[in-house]
Structures are given as structure tokens and as C-alpha cells.
Symmetry: C2
Subunit: 491 residues, 2 copies
């Protein structure tokens, strides 16, 4: 419990530093005062549609400054926003809307085919199209001046490898402490500016917005990731920090050629799995400071981070838990694992979710005494640095040996002729399961070359027994590999 009252974050920020830049989008910069005024107007328009404090409302929106204002309007109203991944099908959206009992869906014309389909399956839901909303009359909104850190701010559904997705409750406190933990690790200066090219509907993007409000920091929003545009905007808008995943970082590093990022740029926050040594070396050569992280929707973004000074001595590590948080590795019987012994990763801290929406039993079994079972497998080295091995559900067990796909993928991706790789388990008469690899080529390479390369790097049982070449590794919005898609390809 984090039962602490504070002033509404946006109101406080607009009061403290009204004239500081808050958001830059499509060539226009908005101050905190302007952001507050826009959010206040939208809050009035949403109130006119019937939205009230405590209600759930779906938000199906693109990466746009309007989306930021809509999210902030929800803060002002005390509306719990169910943040929808805009790549979902109408059926998947319907499922999340029903599960969260959202009576409203705030969306925009570009998703009209989806919400029209939705209107048929869920006729009782009020669809609010932002283009219409922004032209509507403004009711005087009932503004929530004080919030309790224990109140739910947002709901984000986790993709889940099996079964239906679960709605992760993210409180104001979860977002607050996540921002504070990050600031204590990365520092904070008045010159800071965070580039958001990741989806705002994902915690990686939403957490940048929360940091912007809490820190009084400018955020730059792009509609989507493009390496050339990202590099240009880092230069033009004096960006100091950017959130990336490996594939984005690879593309930026390649695009930079002989250039360097400007001196003010101080942090490339890398999520979604460890980077290859080859990529880290290239980044070091171009003085790109890479902070590797581990986090998830349930921890409101990063909870474990590795500073650049450890990039090489602790290659592949995600680092240590941020100041407000803790982590431990446990055996299947619940005992604490010894150093270097792999087990399930458990995390605890004020940024950790209090549970899943309307899922008391699942919450109880996943969170015990404040410790969340992540389902991920990892170990701590002698100095307490975390190494994430894999998602438990993706674990390949081959002849009694544990095989972690991410490890093999890391090796494959380090080959100069391979640009991306994905590994899954393949049923096998003799061994139960064996690894199978999907390869995206950068240059010409064949199966024999790849297997020879693996033989130098991997124990025999870890070497893929099947190699397939494809155009692209299927990944979700968070750039995590969709192994079930790979499995379909195999079939």
C-alpha cells in the first residue's frame, strides 16, 4: 500500500514550471501551461460525454500529441484509462473493453474500421472520436485536485503467451516511483529531453510521459520509429535520453556511419532483452552510452538497469534493481537461489502493480508478500548483477538440459551476416525438444556456415537442429519475439 496523497501531477507541474517546454510534436512545442490548458479543455469535453471520476475508458489512439493530452485529461478527471494497443484486432479490443467494463472508447478516425466493427459487437459502448470530441462544447469538468498514490491511473493488458490477456493495474504511485527510481539512477538535469519513438500505448512510451510531468522535462514524440528522423530530432531538439530496443539501436548505429550523436545526448535506455556484444562494441566506438534494462508492464517500465561502465564487464546483464525496488531469484520450491544459480525472477517495490483487474485469485498466486513472480528465468552473479535467461514459458527442455532461446538468439545475432534471429523448441522423438532457429540474413550465408559458427560458441545441445531463413522475425509492439508466430511458421 502506498497510501499517500499528493496534488494531481499535471496541476502541480503546470503551477511549478508553467513556461518550461513539455511536449514537442510535429514541429510544435507545448509548455506545461499549454499542456494543462489543452488537457483541461479536453477534460471538459469528455465530461460532456458523461465521463466521470472512477470510470474506466478505453483509449485506442496513435502516437500523437493529442494522445498525450487525452491521457492527461483522464488524470484531471480521475478516469482510469484502459490503454489499448492499436495493433490489436477489433475482436481483441472488444475482449479488453468487456473485461475492464469500459463504457467509453476514446479513439480517432484512422481506427474507424476497428471501432465500427466494435460498435456491432458491443453496442452499449460510447465511441468518442477525438476529431468530433475536439469540436464539441466544453462542460465545466470536475477536476481531481488531489490524488492518492494508491489509486489506479492506467490499465494495460499484458500480451500473455497463453490464455487471455490480463489487465495490469498501474497506480499513480507505480508511475511515480518508477519515474523516481529512474531519476535516482540516471540523474536529472534541466536540459534533459526524452525522445519517445516507442508506442505511447506501451509502458515504455507512457512512462516517458509520466517522467515528463514529474520531472518537468520536455518529451519529443514521433508517430513511429525511423532511424533517420530519430537522429535528426536528437540533434535539433537537443534530446538527451531515448528509449530503444535492440533492433532500433542497431538501425540507428548503422545509420550514424562515421558520425556521432551530439555531446548532450547521455543515455540510450535499452529494453526488451540484452544486446549483443557486437552491437555494444559498435555503440561504444560511436560513444553511444547504452543503459541496458529489464522491466515489464507489471513494474511500470524498468526495474533493473545496467550502467554503461558495466556494459562489457557484465556483458548480457540487466544490472541491479533500482533504488526503491528489490529482486531475488528463487528455486521452484520457493527457496532463494545461490549466486549464479538460475531460477525464477521475483521483484518487489512501489513500482510493482498491486495486481490484475478482476483477477483476485491470479493476483494472489502471482504476488505474495509484495513479491511478484515474473515468470522469467535468470540468475544473479556473485556481485548481485541480474542475468535474464528467458521467459519461463519459452524454456526449451532438451534431453533434461535447460535451453534458453534468448541465449542462442544472442549468439546468432552476433554473426555479421545475420541481422535478426528467433529460436523456439521443436518436438523431437529422441530429446523431447530441440531448438530450431529462424534467421534474417544481412548478407549471404547458409545453414552450414551458421552451424559451424554455433559450434564455436555453444554447447552441443544448444545448437539449432533446424535452420530456416525468413524475411522478418515477428515481434510485438514491445519488440519481444512472438514465438507462437514462429511456431505457426514451423507448422
Amino acid at each position: 500500500m502506498n497510501d499517500q496523497v499528493m496534488q494531481n501531477f499535471l496541476i502541480k507541474r503546470a503551477f511549478l514550471t508553467p513556461d518550461r517546454p513539455a511536449i514537442h510534436f510535429a514541429g510544435i512545442t507545448y509548455t506545461f501551461s499549454e499542456a494543462y490548458n489543452r488537457a483541461h479543455t479536453i477534460a471538459g469535453q469528455l465530461a460532456g460525454c458523461g465521463l466521470k471520476k472512477g470510470q474506466y475508458a478505453g483509449a485506442l489512439l496513435s502516437n500523437h500529441v493529442d494522445t498525450v493530452f487525452v491521457y492527461l485529461a483522464c488524470h484531471l478527471l480521475g478516469v482510469k484509462a484502459v490503454i489499448l494497443n492499436n495493433r490489436l484486432t477489433a475482436a481483441e479490443i472488444a475482449w479488453q473493453m468487456k473485461d475492464s467494463q469500459s463504457a467509453f472508447l476514446i479513439t480517432e478516425s484512422r481506427f474507424s474500421s476497428k471501432y465500427r466493427e466494435l460498435e456491432e459487437t458491443l453496442p452499449n459502448i460510447t465511441i468518442i472520436n477525438k476529431e468530433v470530441l475536439f469540436e464539441s462544447s466544453v462542460s465545466p469538468p470536475l477536476i481531481v485536485d488531489e490524488i492518492n498514490l494508491n489509486e489506479v491511473c492506467t490499465i494495460m493488458y499484458t500480451s500473455g503467451t497463453t490464455g487471455h490477456p490480463k489487465g495490469v493495474l498501474q497506480t499513480y504511485g507505480n508511475h511515480w516511483w518508477s519515474a523516481i527510481g529512474s531519476a535516482l539512477n540516471l540523474g536529472l538535469t534541466e536540459e534533459d529531453c526524452w525522445l519517445c519513438t516507442v508506442p505511447l500505448f506501451h509502458i515504455s512510451g507512457y512512462s516517458i510521459l509520466m517522467r515528463s510531468i514529474i520531472y518537468g522535462m520536455k518529451m519529443v514524440v514521433l508517430e513511429s520509429f525511423d532511424e533517420k528522423e530519430a537522429i535528426n530530432i536528437i540533434r535539433n531538439e537537443k534530446v538527451t535520453i531515448m528509449s530503444v530496443v535492440s533492433t532500433m539501436l542497431t538501425r540507428m548505429e548503422e545509420k550514424l556511419k562515421e558520425d556521432k550523436l551530439p555531446a548532450q545526448f547521455r543515455c540510450m535506455l535499452l529494453g526488451g532483452g540484452p544486446a549483443s556484444k557486437a552491437l555494444l562494441e559498435k555503440c561504444q566506438a560511436k560513444q553511444i552510452p547504452v543503459y541496458q534494462t529489464y522491466g515489464m508492464t507489471e513494474t511500470s517500465s524498468q526495474i533493473v538497469t545496467l550502467s554503461p561502465e558495466y556494459s562489457f564487464s557484465k556483458l548480457g546483464s540487466a544490472g541491479k534493481a533500482l533504488f526503491p525496488s528489490q529482486l531475488k531469484i528463487v528455486r521452484t520450491n520457493g527457496e532463494k537461489a545461490s549466486p549464479t544459480e538460475a531460477g525464477e525472477i521475483l521483484v518487489k517495490g512501489p513500482n510493482v502493480t498491486k495486481g490484475y483487474l478482476n483477477k483476485k485469485e491470479e493476483t494472489k498466486s502471482k504476488i505474495v508478500d509484495g513479491w511478484l513472480s515474473t515468470g522469467d528465468i535468470g540468475y544473479l552473479d556473485e556481485e548481485g548483477f541480474l542475468y535474464v535467461l528467458d521467459r519461463r514459458s519459452d524454456l526449451i527442455i532438451s534431453g533434461g538440459e535447460n535451453v534458453y532461446p534468448a541465449e542462442i538468439e544472442g549468439i546468432l545475432a552476433s554473426h555479421p551476416a545475420i541481422s535478426d534471429a528467433g529460436v523456439i523448441g521443436l518436438k523431437d522423438e529422441q530429446w523431447g525438444e530441440v531448438p530450431a532457429a529462424f534467421i534474417v540474413k544481412r548478407k549471404e550465408i547458409n545453414e552450414v556456415d551458421i552451424l559451424q559458427f554455433c559450434q564455436q560458441k555453444l554447447a552441443k545441445y544448444k545448437i539449432p537442429k533446424k535452420v530456416m531463413f525468413i524475411e522478418e522475425i515477428p515481434r510485438n509492439a514491445a519488440k519481444k519475439i512472438l514465438r507462437r508466430e514462429l511456431r505457426k511458421l514451423l507448422e
Copy 2:
């Protein structure tokens, strides 16, 4: 309530950044790992004396690195430290020891005359002399690995202008949120280093220690303030931030002559009342960035801060409440005052004390719905900047008009021939009370000159009716004027 569990701050910090410099004292720098080891050893020695989690222990110590280690040892043991002002008489110390029911007093030889007297009046108290303690055997201490932010960390007695002092409960959460509020305002970089020349037994000094642990920042401790030594150590130890009161800042500014502080120095955090315009102008000329603040023991240091960019446009203001905190001005009937209308200052936030030790009734009357009545008088301007007028108990009421001593002192101190000034109320047949001024001269000046100067600056009823010249204005450890001492001089 701030019922949040976290790892013990020192344990976490020593784990995260063991090799970073933590404390510099008398030419020696200790890393966080070394600080942890020293504190752990002392915790073992204190455990050997019988100290246990949850107990209260008095600490009568000087500004010294050992004091830092003793305080941190108390954190490790979960002992609540009653931090004693070492300028107190034995009788005053005895009162605080009895009030807090402390069974132990951790002290050092230089205070032997005080603690010997104490041994006679309170024979049941165990006196622990640090010089003896540090030579004693080490018992394995029972370390508190996790703390709850709601637990009491320290007790500090407020001086109080009337009656007995009250023990202010400062929780781990109070200290934590104070540090976070400050970081969100001042920023935080890996190069930061905070100079502590104020007493460690005062919240201004103790809060620097807490920031050091929470931020992973070096603190430099001096035994006492000396302007030459302070300037030298800012240069040699690359200090970036220093806590001062006006008199210290005046002396440093004068000492600097034509020099400037090095470029890395970024913040002079000024507490204990507003600075004169003359001082601010001189500081500006020497590029000393002054952040004016308002705070008290009950708020675990600053709660309101003014950035340098507002130094002149908001001259005399203490600024706005830090991000996690709120403030309001109320009339005597409890209603919110209008902008520019003076009233009592009320503050709220997670850094505000939960009350006074063993004083339920006083706590209830001082803290209502989380709002602490400070007893101080001030107003907010149209933009919400706070102007502190005076301590309520020092208010002079003259012919029905309110006269605020601090205002007159500010005017007097701005005269080039006056180095310091103190004002109190003097009983008067006609007006009830009239202001009387005590002056410390810088150059030759007489009463007529001073009154002429005041006539240009102050309404008639505010002009001192009596002017006395003295050698020094009596101030407490926090450099607040001891008006009752001035009153004695008058008698």
C-alpha cells in the same frame, strides 16, 4: 500514512554503488562500501551495549565523520536516534532524554562535562562514549534489512519560543520524500557533491546525509563553518551544492572579493529567512546561484524553494512548495486567504512529520487532515509564490497594525554600514507595542542616520522607536534570531 516497504537505505546504496565516494572529512574520503562497513561494525558494538531495534537513543555528537557512521549504525539497527543539539546545557539534554525515554546516550569526550552532570541527574541512563565504544568488541548485530517508510528514523526537538521543546517525529519516509522533492527541484547529477558546514544535529545537516545515501552523492563535512575553509573545500573537493543561512552567505561573498566560485558550483541553498536585496545583488555579480528556501524540523528541511531566476522578480519570496508537497495560507477562522492576504502558513506532504513524541493532543491540534499549522505568517502573491512575514509568536502588534520584525530586519541589514540586525517588540503605553532594533555595525553609523534611512523605506509605525548597538545578534544553531535573548538585553 506512507506505508511502503523498502530496503534499508544504506544497505541498498552500498550494494548499488559501493565504490562511489560517500563522505569526505578531514582530508579522507570514504566510499559507500566503506561507510557501510564502518556503520556495520559500530552497529555491532552498539548491539554489544544492549541497543536494539525500536529503542530510543540520544546522540550528543559533534560535526564529525564518526557522527555520520553512528547515525547510519542506528539505521542498520532500527534504533530511533534522538538527535541532540550539542549547544544545550546538561539540564536541557536531561529534559529531552527523559521526554523521549531514551535509555542510552551516545556521545564523545568533548562533551564529558555535560554527560557527567547528566549521569548524576539520570543515573539509569547508559552513557556510551564513542572513543570507548570504537575500541569495544563487536557483537553480531541484528541488521534491519527492510524498513517501512512509516517508521520513525530520528527525533529532533524544536527550540520553541515558549514552553518545553517538543520531539518532532521524523520517519524514513519524511527524509526520503524530502530528498526526492529536493532532487526534482534542483536536479541530480553524478558530479554532485554537497558541502555540510551546518550542524549534523540540525535537520539542515542531517538532511544532507540522507540525500547522500539516497542519491549516491558525496557529502563533505566540516566541523564548523569558516568562510575561507568553505571556499577552499568547494574548489578542492569540487562541491556543487552548499546549505547556508544569510550570515554565512554574507561572509563567503565578502571573502570571495574579486574571485568567483568554480564553474561546477551550482547551488547555494539558503535557509533561515529571506536574504537582503543587497546580498542577492552581490551574489549575482559573483555568479553565486542562490536558491532561497523555507522549511523547518517538522518538514525534514526545505519544503518551499525559490529558483535563482526569480531571485529579483520575486525578491523576498521563499518560492513554491516542492513537487510532493502543498501549502496554503489561512485566516484565523480557518478559511483560505485571498492572494496577497497574510495569514498562517499551513503545509502538507509526505515530508511533513506525523506528529510530536508522546504529545497526542498537541499533534491533533497542529496537524488536521494532513495539514500542519506552522505558526508562521505569510502570504501568496497572485502567482502563488510564498512570502514569509514572520513567526506568529514574534508578531508585534502596534496600534492595531501588524508589524513583522523580519521585514524591518531586512531593511536594516540592507544598509551598507549595518552588518546584522534584530528586532523585537517593546511595551509601550500609547501603542501597546513598538518595534525596537538591535544593530551590529559594519562601519560607523548613529541612530539618527538609521532612522532617516528607515523613514525612506518603512511606514511610520514600523520604524524602530529604540535603537541599540551590540556586538552580535544572538542566534541559535540554525542561525535563527533568539528574540528572547534580545528581550533579556532590553531588560
